[in-house]
């Protein structure tokens, strides 16, 4: 699990770091257009890959974001 990624996700979601786990649930309320764009920037910065905005909009939890990243990295 990438600590830097989770820390930044906590910042984006305005949530306490302790609450950010792979099961952390994402909805239209907490994962809005600003948060999605911020997450794209974060993924580009940390993992140096691009994931599709359309796919990212569909994810339901943090773990799914990491699976999208792994797919983009060809893992």
């Amino acid at each position: 699990m990438n600590e830097a990624f989770l820390e930044e996700m906590a910042e984006i979601l305005e949530e306490d770091i302790g609450n950010i786990t792979p099961d952390y649930s994402l909805s239209k309320e907490n994962f809005d257009s600003l948060a999605i764009v911020a997450t794209l920037a974060l993924i580009d910065d940390i993992f140096e890959v691009t994931v599709s905005g359309k796919e990212l909009r569909k994810v339901k939890d943090i773990g799914s974001i990491l699976r999208l990243v792994e797919k983009a990295m060809g893992k």
Partner: protein
Amino acid sequence: MNNKACIKGIASYLPDYQLTNEELSEKYPEWNVEKIYKKTGISSRSIVAPGECVSDMAVAAAQKLFNKKVCVKEEIECLILCTQSPDYFLPSTACIIQDRLELPKGIAAFDYNLGCSGYIYGLAIAKSLIETGIFNNIILITAETYTKYLNPTDKSVRTIFGDGAAATFLCAKKCEEEMIGPFIFGTDGSGAEKLIVPAGGHRRPIDSSTAIELVCDDGIKRSPENLYMDGAEIFNFTLDRVPQMIKDLLNKSETKFDDVGYFIFHQANRFMLETLRKKIKIPKDKFCINNEYFANTVSATIPMALEIEFNDGKIKNNDLVMLAGFGVGLSWGATLIKVLF
């Protein structure tokens, strides 16, 4: 000695009404004032009054150039307008502006349709016309009223876009060095639907169905007559294309990265600009983010930013400045300039 095109002056116009973060936050309580500012870097946006159009703003901006004595009406030979929100389908809004400004009837006037890359194109067109000897003095106006296209409930774009116009005077100068150029351009029309007003043209004319608002997949209500922006995909496109474009321009111009004195990119929003700055590794003190009070005015952001940075002393005459525009189309372009105000 050859004639070289140079940028001699810029004047901007912003509509009176300021849409503040406080007002937006009242409408979208889930986004507070601090959050809107932190994410966009924008405190307020200028919005046209009902009935106020691109020609009105363009006339006001150009009139400021004359008032500041940057140029006189009698010497103008060509008027170029970049807009995607013209007064009419036809005639060209540039023709209306010629009449309203009482410019000589012996001038050329035309519109071209581009968005955030529009200022770079305008410089390329003006340079070509001047350096081939067709004209000596050109006014290039970039003006948009994008807010007319926005659904009032669409917080994703209402926080970002503002209306405004910038008029740039370009003229021929006898010298050896390049004052504008070279250029890099790029186009990817496969991304046309990422930033689009779907209805209102001939592909989908306005009828009773086009005004119906539907909830889109981002949870926001829009009708096909409204502007749709897939912010995430536009952001990805920017991260993908802009750093490469900057490298290509440095290679083409045989310029070292450190020799560029200042960078002015299309002022989309602070978050996008900061991400690009970090990715391209541009030092903070060489990078312009100054649209706090004019927001994203599409093709007008670069000249507006340039005017402010010059007036603030961050750019001086003959400094080497890199300009880059990117967005709707998808379309992108970059160039190097030296101003001579």
